[in-house]
């Protein structure tokens, strides 16, 4: 899925087969993409029955990640020879320091906190680690699920790795000895789309799911603390339960964090405040979003901004901030800086934000009808 992330200096938008960097002070755009030879499609893929050729080519989106120190950028491409590219910021320029094949299309990529590795959660169900400090070192297999992975994250202290999949599972394992599973967080009834740590209490995991809920867990014990049915706050017009694409969390005080939620097929982005460390209280602050453009992605950045990526031809990127009363305001000046690039970002929305294949088909085996002999 196309996504947006950023820090004080820049925003990184991933989509298609590249990452687009926007300089925040002047809105200038830089595209980082795989070297020319790679863009050629090596094998001619025949579209499946019922699919148009453009639908088929865009089944995957590139994934990008920015390290927390802001000095490294990673891109997992999805066309040609799927590869992981890593750029390092040297002064004002991004130089490519690594290019290694990844094999299967990535669902999510992330830097570890120390930026020593990039983790890739792929669509085949595996997590691979790529060294950043040794840019030519071969990838290392860390763990595997049976179902397709949708997100992976590592705790700040780099002691635990958490992965979530299409089969409703969240698995907590040790890191880097990932073969040692510590616990499972079981409770979601549909695919789990994202994982974050509650910033004011890092023992708590925040997950989002196709079942329409955000859940908070004491992940080391596999214990569910709280379940927030988002549809209660942002009901769909026809009463259907809408899936949650992802959520973003941000610390605002030693005992409180904000959480913005991105809902499938919805133009509304609710923002919550989560208070307390053991006894959690959740309050809806407001719901951002207007017009009928689907919110694609939401992300808080360290400089107290909130980014929104919207399927909007004129304004695909919005930057918001809030005051001491948690009233959210659109940062008009900065948002306008990015409007001139709206055409470039259109390809980010070329495939559905929640692919239909994530939903279970629940088919009956032909032998399900057992003849009972009386």
């Amino acid at each position: 899925m196309a996504s947006i992330t950023g820090n004080k200096e820049m925003l990184a938008v991933s989509g298609g087969n590249s990452v687009y960097l926007l300089e925040r002070k002047n809105g200038s755009l830089q595209t980082l993409e795989p070297p020319v030879e790679d863009i050629k499609i090596t094998t001619k893929k025949v579209p499946k029955k019922g699919e148009t050729s453009s639908e088929h080519a865009d089944k995957h989106m590139a994934c990008a990640a920015l390290s927390s120190c802001g000095r490294y950028l990673a891109l997992a491409t999805c066309r040609g020879t799927k590869s992981l590219l890593i750029w390092q910021l040297e002064g004002q320029t991004w130089s490519l320091i690594s290019q290694r094949p990844i094999g299967r299309a990535a669902s999510k990529i992330r830097f570890t906190n120390s930026a020593s590795r990039v983790l890739i959660a792929d669509k085949a169900g595996d997590v691979y680690s790529f060294s950043v400090t040794e840019p030519t070192k071969e990838k290392e297999w860390l763990l595997g699920h049976i179902a397709m992975l949708l997100d992976v994250t590592v705790s700040d202290d780099e002691k635990y790795i958490i992965s979530c999949d299409r089969d409703d599972k969240i698995r907590v394992a040790r890191f880097p000895n990932c073969y040692n599973i510590n616990s499972y967080c079981l409770g979601h009834t549909s695919f789990v789309t994202s994982l974050s740590f509650l910033p004011h209490n890092l023992c708590i995991l925040v997950s989002s799911s196709g079942d329409g809920c955000i859940k908070l867990w004491k992940y080391l014990e596999g214990k569910e603390l709280l379940s927030i049915p988002i549809n209660k706050y942002v009901p769909a017009l026809d009463g259907e339960i809408l899936p949650i694409k992802q959520c973003s969390v941000f610390q605002v005080s030693p005992e409180a964090s904000l959480m913005s939620v991105c809902i499938g097929s919805s133009s509304k982005c609710p923002i919550f405040k989560i208070d307390g460390t053991d006894n959690l209280q959740v309050k809806l602050l407001c719901t951002i979003g207007s017009e009928d453009q689907e919110v694609w992605c939401t992300q808080f950045t360290k400089d107290n901004s909130m980014l929104l990526m919207k399927n909007n031809k004129m304004r695909p990127v919005e930057v918001w901030s809030w005051d001491e009363n948690y009233d959210f305001l659109l940062n008009q000046n900065e948002t306008e800086l990015y409007e001139k690039h709206s055409d470039t970002f259109q390809e980010c929305f070329s495939c559905p934000s929640i692919p239909s294949m994530l939903y279970r088909k629940n088919y009956d085996e032909p032998a399900d009808k057992v003849k009972k002999h009386s």
């Binding site: 763990l143 049976i146 000895n177 073969y179 040692n180 085996e365």
Partner: protein, 241 residues
């Protein structure tokens, strides 16, 4: 009394035949609890309300080994897991009939139709199992299907989670390639250690693997290779290094 026997309908295998291969990664409509806390075991083991399953026969087929385990270990709850609908139905009917035929016996064995590759952590708690059996698993010969194999580096981590320290994994096959594959996966997993032949000679379960399972009996009849590899779940060596 004769009247009880007349009412016991022992299921006949020929009515429950199903092709051997099933795609374990597909979305079968399968019942499973969201969390082990939510599983009602009383339906399967009505006479044992306070016990937990300790032996799991993964891919129990027509239930031969399962029934033998129940008799060999009357105080332990054994569970057979089978993905094929007809086959699991057979085992369920078989156990029902056995329980009626021999009052007071076979209450400690049951069968569940489920996908063991996906849902074991939904049924069992960490360290709950003492023995896991993988008898004559589907070899899935094609390289593209290797990820369907029930013993793999990914799944072994799950089995390590489900087994208590000291718990055992029994793998049995008559396919040398598959035996080599399973041995390699288990050897390479840091939380499993191979059990010596000496120990296996003393294990009462081992002979049952060949003479109680339907597949095992077939191998004996055809004089096929009997490839057994048993491993013990050990503590993570990472912590002590």
């Amino acid at each position: 009394m004769a009247s009880i026997e007349q009412n016991v309908r022992y299921p006949q295998k020929r009515h429950y035949r199903q092709r051997a291969h099933s795609n374990p990664t597909a979305d079968h409509k399968v019942d499973y609890p969201i969390h082990p806390d939510l599983m009602d075991w009383s339906k399967l083991y009505p006479e044992f309300p306070n016990k937990r399953v300790e032996f799991a026969d993964v891919g129990c087929g027509y239930g031969g080994l399962l029934v033998a385990l129940g008799e060999l270990f009357p105080d332990v709850l054994s569970l057979g897991l089978e993905i094929r609908v007809k086959v699991s139905q057979f085992v369920i009917e078989r156990i029902k009939a056995l329980r009626l035929q021999e009052q007071g016996k076979h209450q400690n064995v049951a069968c569940l139709r489920t996908n063991a590759m996906k849902y074991l952590p939904n049924f069992f708690y960490r360290g709950q199992l003492k023995k896991m059996f993988f008898l004559f698993p589907d070899p899935h010969f094609k390289e593209s299907k290797h990820e369907w194999r029930i013993i793999s580096r990914s799944l072994l981590s799950e089995y390590a989670y489900l087994l208590c320290e000291g718990g055992l994994v029994y793998t049995v096959t008559d396919v040398p390639d598959l035996n080599q594959w399973m041995v390699k996966c288990l050897d390479e997993h840091p939380m499993f250690e191979r059990v010596s032949q000496e120990e296996l000679d003393k294990d009462p379960v081992v002979p049952k693997l060949w003479d109680s399972s339907e597949e095992g009996q077939k191998v004996t009849r055809n004089d096929g290779p009997k490839l057994l590899a048993v491993y013990r779940r050990v503590a993570d060596p990472f912590d002590s290094s």
